[in-house]
Amino acid sequence: MTWGYVFRRLAMFFAVVLAATTVNFIVPRLAPGDPTAAVLEQLMSRGQQVQGAQDIVTVYRERFGLDDPMIVQYGRYLFNSLRLDLGSSISYFPQSVTSAILGALPWTIALLSVSTVIAFGLGSLIGALLAWPGSPRAVHRLAPFLMVLSAIPYYLLALIVLYLLAIWTGWFPLGGAYSVFPNGFSFPVLWDLAYHAFLPALSIVLAGLGFWALGMRGAMINVLGEDYLALAEAKGLKKGRIFFKYAMRNAMLPQVTALAIALGTAASGSVLVEVAFNYPGIGYLLYNALRSSDYFLIQGVAFFLVITVAFAVLVLDLLYPLLDPRIQRL
């Protein structure tokens, strides 16, 4: 791994962040209705008589700098983003966007990382076994089932899971992340957290399983055709050793790259799962921000999502040469 390689990856990372930030800035501003309108609407709903509505709009536009020229707003936005100062949320004023996100982020990270890792690990193993001629017949029977599973989107799965395991049987809670907000840590608290996280995690794992299994199966079949496997077999190595050390290890490489992209998809996929389960994470925050047209919060959440995913990609890119020695020569 040369410095040139590292440098290019870093440059890519910053390009991604800059581009996303720009898109982020522009898109919400194309929307009809500015955030001050939302505040005013909240005032006017439920029969609260409002006089001087135009004045309220003016005051708010001034406070949030919405009357400055676009280029000034853009410059300010970029500069502040770099300092991770994402401004104050309008609908949650005076809470800062960063604190709103930091409140929600851990839930999403915990839910997504645990379930994605489970889906990735389990799916890859099943996929490898599917392609491996020596695995038991029962495993091969899983294939059509997994295909069906991978075709059904996570959201539909979430609804089905919600209905079957929460509404119909009542085995699991209908949503939320805890019964009482955890103030300390004890076994019951952790149990409660796990109990609430189970169904959303299950939806993500189920939806991801098929994807990883099929991807792994494809990669594995490619690897199985390689000469070094025949050589390993000819050398009389044990089957298990060939499976894990030779075949699976090499087939994992494309899976790892896919993982980076999958994290991005999962992050947005979690919006719907979190909405379905009322899980207080980033997705739910974004959904609420959209409904109240809270520019700064929408931007902030999108910014965080992009940074997180771009960072994950960067880390994987930098780790990749360690996994695949062939890249090192670059």
């Binding site: 991604v16 898109v23 898109v27 929307a31 490619n222 991005g264 992050a267 999108a302």
Partner: protein, 288 residues
């Protein structure tokens, strides 16, 4: 064109024998049939609100029952399935067309073209799509199926660009592309006459994938209430079912059919895409 047909014959022969392809096409055909033949037997105007008595479970009069808005659910399925498919195919075609073009140009010309296009592609791939879709859809307020397809298509070209570009990078170095250059063909002729025909299978697999992705995204927007509210689509049916709390009211006949149809649709498209993938990747072929 003649040669295209003849060359495709091999592909069709292979695909025609693929059980995945057959299963996928059969399911898809059945779903299409619902939309084509259904209106002959059922009055699709019953898919409009306040047309029938509300909240009726399935019966001889209403095979799939009715919802709380006074819609006949069989009529909703018959009217909605083609709408959902139309949205998906439209978005898929637009997205794939953009993607294939960009992939061809980026892979063929290389240099700055490539750096910009693949930079943008990689950037877009890293940005969680639904986040952007939500922002865009909330801004544009898609009110009809076509608008929605356009919005989704604008965010679903990256995959096609990526795979086509990778393929073109290989093709570009092949003898016949060099030869075409010596034969006095211009860049555009080379791209469209020499390279393009050879990426058709991949483009087609991309198209199926993009269609499936578009239906998925569309459904996501619809259940969040950002869909075409005045059109009965499958996603909007789920949205209404959620709004009227059909889940806890035990009105399974309301939300089950759209979920089943959507699942079947995704499975069919998946099987077709997977059969096309097998065709493009011979090693997979030998295994399955």
């Amino acid at each position: 064109m003649y040669s295209l047909l003849r060359n495709t014959r091999a592909a069709l022969l292979y695909l025609g024998a693929s059980p995945k392809m057959i299963a996928g096409l059969v399911i898809l055909a059945l779903l299409l049939l619902i939309g084509l033949v259904g209106p002959l037997f059922i009055d699709v105007r019953l898919a409009e609100p306040i047309s029938v008595r509300t909240n009726q479970p399935p019966s001889a009069d209403h095979w799939l029952g009715t919802d709380s808005g006074g819609r006949e659910l069989l009529a909703v399925i018959i009217a909605g399935t083609p709408q959902t498919l139309r949205m998906g195919v439209l978005a898929g075609v637009i997205g794939t067309t953009i993607g294939v073009m960009l992939g061809l140009f980026s892979g063929y010309f290389g240099g700055w073209w490539d750096r910009i296009i693949s930079g943008v592609t990689d950037t877009m791939l890293t940005i969680p799509p639904l986040a952007i879709l939500l922002v865009v859809a909330a801004s544009v307020r898609a009110v009809n199926v076509e608008m929605m397809a356009l919005i989704i298509a604008s965010l679903s070209w990256m995959h096609a660009t990526r795979v086509i570009r990778a393929q073109v990078l290989t093709l570009r170095e092949l003898g016949y592309v060099q030869m075409a250059r010596l034969s006095g063909l211009g860049n555009f002729s080379i791209i469209f006459r020499e390279i393009f025909p050879n990426v058709i299978p991949i483009a087609f697999a991309s198209l199926v994938g993009a269609t499936s992705g578009a239906i998925l995204s569309g459904m996501g927007l619809e259940v969040l209430g950002l869909g075409p509210q005045n059109t009965p689509t499958l996603g909007m049916t789920i949205y209404w079912a959620l709004l009227y709390a059909a889940f806890s009211r035990g009105m399974w006949w309301w939300w089950c059919p759209p979920i089943i149809i959507l699942a079947l649709l995704f499975i069919a498209l998946f099987l077709i895409a997977s059969a096309l993938d097998d065709f493009a990747n011979p090693r997979l072929r030998s295994q399955s």
